[in-house]
């Protein structure tokens, strides 16, 4: 029995390679596309042992009421975030230059999601 077990690929019941220690499953960020034509949006995060389980959990936690047509899952550790302390140098230079924004055009009413 145990020989048999070793030959097979093991689906993890605990987190692999010490992301958050043995007892906790790693955290996953969930992106859901609400309908065709729209982009995936961040819906929240949840715990799962691997990507397959993350997809199933996302289905149950976020899309049970018909909220989506597509789900992406990304393990949170793979996301590189900007440091809030650097917000000044990262973002502020943009805010005093109105000409960086295309605000001087009249958008036709039919153009949505712009």
């Amino acid at each position: 029995m145990s020989d048999n077990k070793e030959n097979k690929k093991k689906p993890a019941t605990h987190s692999s390679k010490g992301t958050t220690g043995k007892k906790n499953w790693p955290l996953w960020e969930i992106f859901v596309r609400s309908k065709n034509g729209l982009e995936h949006r961040h819906f929240g995060s949840l715990h799962a042992a691997d990507a397959d389980m993350a997809l199933e959990n996302a289905r149950d936690v976020y899309t049970r009421r018909n909220e989506g047509v597509s789900i992406w899952v990304v393990e949170s550790k793979n996301i590189t975030a900007s440091n809030p302390e650097h917000n000044g140098e990262m973002f502020e230079p943009a805010s005093d230059k109105v000409y960086r924004h295309p605000t001087f055009y009249d958008l036709p009413d039919d153009v949505k999601h712009m």
């Binding site: 029995m1 048999n4 077990k5 097979k8 093991k10 689906p11 993890a12 019941t13 605990h14 499953w25 949840l46 715990h47 799962a48 042992a49 397959d52 389980m53 199933e56 959990n57 289905r59 149950d60 936690v61 049970r64």
Partner: protein, 259 residues
């Protein structure tokens, strides 16, 4: 007169046939509902109670239909909440308790694979309402089956401890699987009428499907000669009374209450 008698016995058998399917979903839904707030993780807790809600949704469709067929003045709630123990025709498998997570998963797994092939076949029924319910249900059950099979594989092929717990659950619950393929008198009448599914013919496929998953999960397929039965004829295990006591409490205490 004779045709009317025939009709009334037909509708009685039909209602019993519907109970035979719907009561499985009802009692299993109640069992899963007990896990609300007690799942091993938040995500799995939500998943299992979602399955419970799916099952209750199916039950409503069945009981609305049964209430409509019945010549008595009854509602779906009466059928769900006000029958006596012997009048519930669910299989023994679904009333087995949530002993641990492996048991809840094992019970779900052994039922889902049956439920899936039953709903696949019920789509060929001559009864349009049952066909419509089966068509809606099959998508839900297909997901349930994936969920429980995945967990059987994860636990079976996981750690030594999870493997052992999953094997114990399968070994203990296996004796309730044979009953899934028994037919009652009412079932036979409905099979003759082209309305009911002849579950006897689904047995081989079921054990094949279930065994495949168990093997992938590195679990032993139990080899049993003796099986438990009774639920389909209203003879239940000792757990059933407790389930009904809790489930029927509100309707018994406040008769006719509505939300």
């Amino acid at each position: 007169m004779s045709s009317k008698q025939k009709d009334s016995s037909f509708s009685e058998n039909m209602i019993k046939y519907i109970y035979g399917i719907a009561d499985n979903s009802l009692i299993l839904g109640q069992r899963l509902g007990e896990l609300t707030g007690h799942g091993p993780t938040l995500e799995v807790d939500i998943a299992m109670t979602n399955i419970s809600l799916d099952l209750f949704g199916q039950v409503r469709s069945y009981f609305q239909y049964a209430a409509q067929i019945s010549d008595k003045d009854v509602t779906e709630d009466d059928l769900a909440f006000l029958r006596t123990e012997r009048e519930y025709l669910n299989v023994l498998l679904v009333e087995q308790p949530n002993k641990d997570f492996a048991y809840s998963i094992g019970r779900q797994f052994l039922f889902d694979h049956f439920h899936f092939i039953l709903m696949t076949e019920l789509q060929n029924s001559k009864d349009e309402t049952l066909v419509a319910i089966a068509k809606k249900t099959i998508k839900e059950v297909s997901y349930h089956k994936r969920f429980s099979s995945d967990w059987v594989k994860r636990l079976g092929d996981g750690t030594e401890k999870s493997h052992q717990k999953m094997q114990t659950a399968i070994d203990d619950l296996w004796k309730y699987t044979d009953e899934l393929f028994h037919t009652t008198e009412a079932d036979e009448k409905m099979i003759e009428a082209g309305v009911g599914v002849d579950v006897k013919k689904l047995k081989e496929q079921y054990y094949k499907n279930v065994s495949e998953v168990l093997e992938e999960a590195t679990l032993q397929v139990p080899d049993l000669k003796y099986f438990q039965k009774g639920g389909k004829n209203g003879i239940h295990s000792e757990h059933m009374g407790f389930i009904l006591t809790e489930m029927q409490y509100m309707q018994r205490t406040f008769p006719g209450m509505k939300w």
